[in-house]
C-alpha cells in the first residue's frame, strides 16, 4: 500500500487509463472499523468499473450487507486490459476498492453474472486474486466464491469455478448463510462440511455436491446429488413484498462517468408479457410492484444522498406498472423543483407515454424507441410479442405529430419458425413509418429536419427457461444471410435513405448460445479460452472467435450440439434441477403454441397457470398483497 492508502503505486496509477477506476474513496462508499467485522464480503461485477458500477443489484446487496453490523461489504471490478497486463507482469494481486487490500483476504467473493460473455472475466478475477480456479482445489485460505444473477439459472458451464450459487433474489437468504459461516468458523468446521450445510439453505446450490451422467448421444442421462441430504432440486428465492425489503438509500457515487450516471429506481420486478424468447420475463416472475409512496420516499432520499441530477425508472416494461400515471405526476412536479431530469426507458409508445416524454425530455435530442422484435405480425405472434402493426403505426404517427423525428427500432433475426418474408417485413415496417412522416408533416413544417429511422437487429440466442429453450439456433452463415436479406429489404424501400441499418456480430451470438445452454463439459472450453489470453469477450475489440472454436475442438466438443440442435421434449437439460416456479410443461406448451402462431395472454388479462403462483406473491391469483 502506498502513502495515500492506495494499493497501486503512483507509478502504476499514472501509467494506466482512468486510474479513478481503482482508487475507491467514492461518495457513500462504506468504510468500517475492522475490529467489529466478522465477515468480509467482496462483491464483484466481472467487467470494467464503469459497467459494473451501473448495476443496481450490487447496489442493493452492498447496502444490505453493510446494514449488518458484523459484515463489511466491499467492491471489486475487472481491471482493464492495461492494468491486467501490469498485474500479471509484476505479480500484483487483485484488491478491493474500499480497504485497498487483496481480495484473497476476504471471507466471501460474490460475483454477479449478468451475461454469458463475461465468463472469461470471472477466471481473470479468480486468477488475479490468487484463488484456485477450480472450487474443489480451494482451502480455508481462499474466500468462499459465490455466484448470483441471471446466468446462474444455468450455472453448469461455470459450475466448477464456484463454491456456491445463489439462485434467485439476494435479499432473502444471505443472513442465514453468513450466520452459518460464522458458526462454522468458530467451531472449526471443515470447508467441505460448511458447503454441505450451506446446501441445506433454500436457494443455495453447491455444485461440487452434484454429478452429471451422460448418454451416448452426449445428452444428460442423470443429474443428481452425490451425498445424502443434499436436495435434488433448488428452488429460486423470491422477495414477496418489495416494499419491505432492502433498497439502497445511499448508493455509491462514482467519480468517473458510468453507464448509469443517475439514480436508478426499480419500480417493479417481473414482466406480465411472456415473450417467448425472453429469459428475464420468466426468471423474474411473479410480477411484483413497489408502492408509489415507498418509491417517492426512496427516490428523494437517494437524490439527497447522491446529488444526482437525473433519475431513471427501471423495470422490464414500465408501461405495465399499474400506478405509473400517479407516480409520474408526483415525480415530475418534485423533480422540476429540484432541477432533476427523469428518464423513462422501456416505455411502450402511446398517447400517455408521449405526453410524459414531452414533459420530461427535449424532443429534439431524444428518440422514440420501438422493440417489435419481429418484422411481421405472423412472427410477432410466434414470439408472443403483443405489439401489433397498428400499435406501432399509431404510436409513431402520434410521435411524428408531436414533433419527434428520431426513431429507433429493435428486431431480432433468427427466431424459431422465421421465414424470409418475416425479415423483409422489417424494411416494410420502417418504410411505413417514414411514409407517415412525409404524409403528416408538410415540407414547411419540418423544422426539426426530416425523419431519421435507425433499425438495429441482433441475433436470436435460445436461453434456458424460455419457450425457445428447445429451439435450434441459426448458424453464423445463416445469420449473415438473414442480415443481408434484411439490408436489401430496407434498401429496396422508397424511403430507404431515411433508414439506417446496423446489425450485431453473429460469431458472439453463437458462443453466447453455447454458454447459455451448456453443461459442465463446457467449463473446460472457457478455461482454455482464458488460458489462451481471453478476457473481455463481451467487448468486440477483445473477442477472438478462433480462440473459442479452437478450444472447443481441443475439448472434443461440437458447437452444433449446443447451439444448432433442436431438443426433443424428453431431453434432460443441464438446468432442470433448478425450479423457477414456471414449469417445463408450461414452457413446452408455449413452444408448441409458437409453432402454431397462437398468442398467450399476459398475466394481467388472465392467469395461464405457468407455475410461478407457487411463490404466492405479486400479481398471481390468491397471492399475498402486502
Amino acid at each position: 500500500m502506498n502513502s495515500d492508502g492506495l494499493f497501486l503505486s503512483n507509478d502504476i496509477l499514472m501509467s494506466i487509463e482512468k486510474p479513478e477506476r481503482y482508487i475507491g474513496h467514492e461518495v457513500n462508499s462504506c468504510i468500517k472499523a475492522s475490529e467489529d467485522i466478522r465477515v468480509r464480503f467482496i462483491m464483484c461485477f466481472p467487467d470494467v468499473y464503469e459497467i459494473g458500477m451501473s448495476h443496481l443489484g450490487i447496489q442493493i446487496l452492498y447496502d444490505m450487507f453493510n446494514s449488518f453490523p458484523d459484515v463489511w461489504c466491499e467492491r471489486v471490478y475487472s481491471p482493464w486490459v492495461d492494468l491486467d497486463k501490469i498485474m500479471r507482469e509484476k505479480n500484483i494481486p487483485l484488491f478491493s476498492l474500499e480497504s485497498q487490500r487483496p481480495v484473497k483476504e476476504a471471507d466471501f467473493l460474490g460475483i454477479t453474472i449478468q451475461y454469458e460473455m463475461c465468463y472469461t472475466n470471472i477466471l481473470q478475477i479468480l486468477d488475479l486474486s490468487g484463488i484456485a480456479l477450480k472450487a474443489t482445489d480451494r482451502t480455508w485460505d481462499d474466500p468462499i466464491v459465490i455466484g448470483g444473477g441471471p446466468c446462474t439459472y444455468n450455472p453448469e458451464p461455470i459450475a466448477e469455478f464456484f463454491d456456491i450459487f445463489y439462485i434467485g433474489e439476494g435479499e432473502t437468504r444471505y443472513r442465514e448463510l453468513l450466520d452459518l459461516y460464522e458458526k462454522c468458523r468458530d467451531e472449526g468446521t471443515s470447508r467441505e462440511e460448511f458447503l454441505f450445510l450451506a446446501s441445506q439453505i433454500p436457494g443455495l446450490y453447491v455444485p461440487s455436491l452434484y454429478q452429471a451422467e451422460y448418454n451416448d448421444d452426449l445428452t444428460i442421462k442423470n443429474f443428481s446429488p452425490v451425498r445424502e441430504g443434499v436436495p435434488a432440486k433448488v428452488k429460486k428465492e423470491v422477495v414477496k413484498d418489495l416494499d419491505n425489503t432492502y433498497y439502497p438509500q445511499k448508493p455509491v457515487v462514482p467519480f468517473i462517468r458510468c453507464v448509469q450516471d443517475r439514480v436508478v429506481l426499480e419500480i417493479m420486478r417481473g414482466c406480465i408479457r411472456g415473450c417467448r424468447f425472453c429469459q428475464a420475463g420468466e426468471l423474474y416472475r411473479p410480477v411484483r410492484e413497489r408502492s408509489v409512496d415507498k418509491l417517492l420516499e426512496t427516490v428523494y432520499k437517494m437524490l439527497d444522498s447522491t446529488g444526482y441530477e437525473e433519475v431513471s425508472l427501471s423495470s422490464l416494461s414500465s408501461s405495465d406498472y399499474t400506478h405509473l400515471p400517479e407516480l409520474l405526476d408526483k415525480l415530475i412536479v418534485e423533480c422540476e423543483k429540484r432541477k432533476v431530469n427523469i428518464t423513462l426507458p422501456s416505455l411502450r409508445i402511446d398517447a400517455f407515454s408521449l405526453e410524459v416524454m414531452n414533459k420530461v425530455e427535449d424532443i429534439k435530442k431524444t428518440s422514440v424507441t420501438f422493440a417489435p422484435e419481429a418484422g411481421s405480425q405472423r412472427l410477432r405472434n410466434v414470439i408472443n410479442k403483443g405489439l401489433t402493426e397498428e400499435d406501432i403505426l399509431s404510436g409513431s404517427a402520434q410521435a411524428i405529430k408531436g414533433g419527434w423525428t428520431k426513431f429507433k427500432f429493435y428486431f431480432m433475426l433468427g427466431h424459431p419458425f422465421e421465414n424470409d418474408d418475416d425479415i423483409l417485413g422489417i424494411g416494410d415496417l420502417a418504410n411505413k413509418v417514414a411514409k407517415e412522416f412525409f404524409e403528416l408533416v408538410p415540407k414547411e413544417e419540418r423544422k426539426n429536419g426530416p425523419i431519421s429511422i435507425t433499425v438495429s437487429t441482433s441475433f436470436f440466442v435460445p436461453k434456458p427457461f424460455t419457450a425457445f429453450q428447445w429451439a435450434p439456433q441459426c448458424t453464423e452463415e445463416e445469420f449473415i444471410r438473414k442480415a443481408y436479406l434484411c439490408r436489401s429489404g430496407i434498401a429496396s424501400q422508397l424511403n430507404q435513405k431515411r433508414i439506417h441499418y446496423n446489425w450485431h456480430d453473429a460469431d458472439t451470438s453463437v458462443i453466447e448460445a453455447l454458454l447459455a445452454r451448456g453443461d459442465r463439459r463446457v467449463s473446460e472450453v472457457i478455461r482454455k479460452v482464458y488460458e489462451k489470453g481471453g478476457i473481455y469477450d463481451a467487448w468486440s475489440d477483445y473477442y477472438f472467435h478462433e480462440r473459442w472454436m479452437n478450444s472447443l475442438e481441443e475439448c472434443g466438443l461440437d458447437i452444433g450440439f449446443y447451439a444448432f440442435r433442436e431438443r426433443n421434449e424428453e431431453e434432460i437439460f443441464p438446468w432442470d434441477f433448478i425450479d423457477i416456479g414456471v414449469s417445463k410443461k408450461f414452457l413446452y406448451n408455449e413452444y408448441k403454441k409458437a409453432k402454431e402462431g397462437i398468442l398467450t395472454e399476459n398475466c394481467r388479462v388472465k392467469c395461464n397457470g405457468c407455475g410461478a403462483g407457487t411463490f404466492g406473491a405479486g400479481i398471481c391469483p390468491g397471492a399475498y398483497k402486502g
Binding site: 507509478d11 486510474p19 482508487i23 461518495v27 468517473i256
Partner: protein, 241 residues
C-alpha cells in the same frame, strides 16, 4: 445572483481524478450540501460554475478555485463552507468561501500564475538529482538570459522560452534530504507552462533525463495579476461577508 469563490484542496487518492470529473463531483456535492446554486436557463439547466486553471491528474493542491453563482443575496459563507465540507470526500476540503465583488473577473479568465512545491517520489529519487545538485542547477539557470525548453507532443513540437514565464524559483531551506523546489509560473490561458517543463529543463542542463512519473507536485496557490503587475492570491479578491 451572487458570485462566490471557493478555495479547495486536492490531496491523497482523489488526486487521480481528472479535471472534468472534479467538476462533475462538485455539481453533485453542491446539491448534496443543499447550496442554493444558480442555474442557467434552457432545456437542460446547468449550475453557474467556473474553475480556475485545471490541475493535472496526479498533482495535489492546496489552492484550487471554483466560482459559483448562488441565489442568496446575503449568503452565509461560513455555513456554505461547513455544509460543503460535510458533503465532501476526504482529500477535497473547502478552505475558504468568499463573496466576490460584482466586477470581479471569473476564476477561469482571471488566473495568471500558480505556485508549486515539487519533489521526487521516493521510488524514483535515486534516479533524480540530489538537493545540492538541484540547488546548483537553479542558481545556474538564474544566470542565463533564456531558458529554451523544447516541447514535444505527438503532433507538434516547439521551443518555449520558460524564463519569461517563471516568476519565482528556489529550493526550500529545510531539514529534508530530498529537495523541495518552489516555483511560481504562468498559468494564464495563453501562456501557461507546466512545472514539469521547468524541472525537465533544469535537469537537462546536466543531461539528466527524469524518469517517468518521478515528480511529486503540489500546487500551493493561484494568482491573478494586479494593476501594478503584482501577483494577488485568487483568495484575496473576495470578502468574508
Amino acid at each position: 445572483m451572487t458570485k462566490i469563490r471557493i478555495r479547495f484542496t486536492k490531496h491523497g487518492a482523489v488526486r487521480y481524478i481528472g479535471h472534468l470529473d472534479v467538476m462533475r463531483y462538485f455539481q453533485k456535492t453542491i446539491r448534496r450540501a443543499g447550496i442554493n446554486v444558480s442555474y442557467s436557463g434552457g432545456y437542460s439547466p446547468h449550475q453557474i460554475m467556473t474553475f480556475a486553471a485545471p490541475l493535472g491528474v496526479g498533482l495535489e493542491s492546496d489552492g484550487e478555485y471554483m466560482d459559483l453563482g448562488i441565489e442568496d443575496e446575503k449568503p452565509d459563507l461560513a455555513m456554505i463552507k461547513d455544509s460543503l465540507n460535510a458533503s465532501s470526500v476526504p482529500g477535497i476540503r473547502i478552505l475558504s468561501v468568499k463573496k466576490l465583488p460584482e466586477d470581479a473577473g471569473n476564476a477561469m479568465a482571471s488566473v495568471y500564475a500558480s505556485s508549486y512545491e515539487i519533489s521526487f517520489y521516493d521510488d524514483k529519487k535515486d534516479q533524480c538529482p540530489d538537493k545540492d545538485l538541484m540547488k546548483e542547477l537553479i542558481s545556474r539557470s538564474q544566470t542565463l538570459d533564456t531558458m529554451i525548453y523544447h516541447k514535444e507532443t505527438k503532433k507538434t513540437s516547439r521551443d518555449i522560452d520558460l524564463k519569461q514565464f517563471i516568476y519565482e524559483l528556489y529550493i526550500k531551506e529545510d531539514e529534508n534530504d530530498k529537495p523541495y523546489i518552489c516555483m511560481t509560473i504562468n498559468s494564464s490561458s495563453s501562456d501557461s507552462i507546466k512545472p514539469g517543463f521547468v524541472m525537465e529543463y533544469l535537469c537537462g542542463l546536466e543531461d539528466i533525463k527524469l524518469p517517468d512519473n518521478s515528480l511529486q507536485i503540489t500546487r500551493l496557490d493561484m494568482f491573478t495579476l494586479g494593476e501594478n503587475g503584482e501577483l494577488i492570491s485568487m483568495d484575496d479578491i473576495g470578502s468574508d461577508e
